[in-house]
């Protein structure tokens, strides 16, 4: 079953702002990353899924239910962590969590306490007195307390320190193993690469690409760094356009059969060779960094 499906989903804010003809498909149990720069339409898409805003055209479905028509039923099984956490600032955290729990049946109080302990939240304090990071933790707890079938996260690690980020991904990992679907938008591409199985890239409101996270990295060119005698490097630099020679190290990007390159390099007298995997961040940059659509 599809956890999320959007069909030609469009929200037009005018002046080319919004999302346009978005066709997304997230299978149940999948860990899905949604990446794009600011203003690309990530949060708009999530708000459409939550029925915070209505689509101009097209439709979105969660577990086969129309997001605009069956929103309340859908949300029984959805947990949402917004990017910017804003709740009732005069309420104590305990009251906020009780309020959040009151919307669901059969809340496992022990699990909520476990989350509170895990994220080290002081529930006796007023929400408005908390730092952004602590507010984020409260937001995470209220979103995960009912063990949702679908978890929507908008910049989840934003504001969390590295330890709390690690704990968050541990909890998400466990929920994922229990069958929950995780859909996260993020700027932190490394965490998307580490956690998500699939990734969609959105640019100016349009879906540029959906692929397996590993696929995007694998088909990307390799970064090659070679140390050798000057004449060898000079010859290689002529062969590989765009290469740079600095401090006796030749660096260039290679795309193609890696075996061919290795056979060529084996015939040369080299002092050192480094072949590095390109991270998702670099793939992402290729979509936004003005290097065109060579990997689309």
């Amino acid at each position: 079953m599809k956890a999320i499906e959007t069909c030609q989903l469009t929200k037009n804010f005018g002046l080319s702002k919004g999302v346009f003809d978005l066709n997304l498909c997230v299978e149940e149990g999948e860990r899905f990353g949604f990446i794009g720069p600011n203003g690309a339409g990530k949060s708009t898409t999530i708000k459409l899924l939550l029925n915070m805003i209505y689509p101009t055209s097209g439709a979105a479905f969660i577990f086969g239910m129309d997001c605009a028509k069956e929103s309340a039923r859908i949300k029984q099984g959805v947990g949402y962590v917004p990017s910017d956490v804003r709740m009732y600032k005069n309420f104590k955290v305990k009251d906020l969590l009780d309020y959040a729990a009151s919307f669901y049946q059969d809340i496992d109080r022990a699990y909520v306490e476990e989350l509170v302990k895990l994220f080290e939240v002081d529930i006796s304090r007023k929400f408005g007195q908390l730092s952004f990071g602590n507010k984020k933790k409260v937001s995470v707890i209220q979103a995960l307390m009912h063990r949702p079938k679908l978890i929507l996260l908008d910049e989840p690690s934003n504001g969390l320190d590295p330890i709390m980020q690690e704990r968050l991904f541990d909890v998400l990992e466990r929920l994922s193993q229990d069958g929950s679907t995780v859909f996260m938008s993020s700027h932190n591409l490394d965490e998307v690469q580490r956690f998500c199985q699939k990734v969609a890239i959105i640019r100016e409101g349009k879906l540029v690409r959906t692929a397996e996270t590993s696929e995007i990295s694998l088909e990307r060119p390799k970064t090659i760094r070679i140390s050798a005698a000057a004449d060898v490097l000079s010859a290689l630099s002529k062969q590989y356009t765009g290469s740079t020679l600095q401090n006796g190290v030749l660096t260039f990007t290679y795309q193609g059969d890696i075996g061919v390159l290795l056979r060529q390099l084996a015939a040369l007298e080299l002092t050192d060779v480094t072949i590095s995997d390109v991270k998702l961040a670099d793939a992402f940059m290729s979509y936004y960094g003005g290097r065109g659509n060579e990997y689309v």
Binding site: K47, L50, Y54, Q76, D84
Partner: protein, 269 residues
């Protein structure tokens, strides 16, 4: 029910502040009543009023006997009606827009609730709070009236008139509560709603004041909901059923429209 309870809790403090202020004003008004006779204020006012044209006298409340508790209280109660209407309007105007302005709607509407449920919880909580608010003030008005009554006072007439004045003010307040809700469910910028409802109140109030200037402008009072429950008229002649019916129908209409607007609104957080 959970949202209703939390709405009560969220707004308790605001209601309490307004209640304390209104009780303070009522205590002051009733404390002033014995002075009307003792300090000869009635005589002073009569002299001042007699120098004004009849139209101005009408606006100032006409020739009232301020040593009579019924006439005194009804002439001063217009300020209370204004306060109730503004308070109810603010309650309504804050209801939905504040969630968007503060961003907490992102928390609330991510929960398994419909927009209709959110609006109903907020509306009923405010309805209950405003009703309790008015009931407490009615009891205090009656109690204070009993304490400061003088030999001329027909207390049963005062009690009946006071009850009717509060009922009239309550219905006018409900109208502004409903209009506030409508504004709150429609306006995109959440920080504008309170300014709008207060603006609407004062514009209609000024129109109502102008209606008393000459007979030809009398029809303008239909555009001034606060004047539908004009305390001086209510105390002397009772409530006008037609005006009350108009207010109630208009309130129901505004609430119905609020549901329609809220159900198709985009939440910009």
């Amino acid at each position: 029910m959970n949202m209703f309870k939390y709405e009560l809790k969220l707004n308790c403090k605001t209601v309490l502040i307004w209640l304390i202020v209104c009780i303070g004003i009522l205590l002051f008004l009733f404390a002033m009543f014995p002075l009307m006779e003792l300090l000869g204020i009635q005589e002073l006012i009569d002299n001042q009023l007699s120098q004004m044209p009849p139209e101005m006298q009408e606006i100032m409340g006409g020739q009232l006997n301020l040593t009579d508790l019924c006439q005194y209280f009804s002439s001063e109660f217009l300020y209370m009606v204004m306060a109730f209407c503004i308070f109810a309007g603010i309650l309504g105007a804050n209801a939905l827009a504040r969630e968007e302005y503060d961003g907490s709607i992102e928390f609330l509407y991510a929960k398994p609730v419909t927009r209709t449920q959110i609006l109903t919880a907020k509306l009923t909580a405010r309805f209950v709070l405003f009703t309790v608010f008015l009931m407490i003030l009615t009891v205090i008005s009656l109690g204070m009236g009993y304490v400061v009554r003088n030999d001329q006072t027909d207390f049963s007439a005062f009690a009946k008139g006071t009850l009717l004045m509060h009922v009239g003010a309550y219905i006018a307040g409900l109208f502004f509560l409903a209009v506030g809700m409508l504004i709150s469910s429609t306006v995109k910028k959440g920080n504008m709603t309170i300014g709008l409802i207060i603006g609407i109140f004062f514009v209609t109030y000024i129109i109502g004041s102008a209606s008393g200037l000459m007979e030809e402008l009398r029809f303008l009072e239909w555009f001034a909901p606060a004047y539908y429950a004009n305390p001086v008229e209510v105390m002397s002649d009772g409530l006008e059923p037609l005006k009350m019916a108009v207010l109630l129908v208009a309130s129901v209409g505004a609430v119905a429209l609020s549901y329609r607007q809220y159900n198709k609104k985009d939440f910009y957080v």
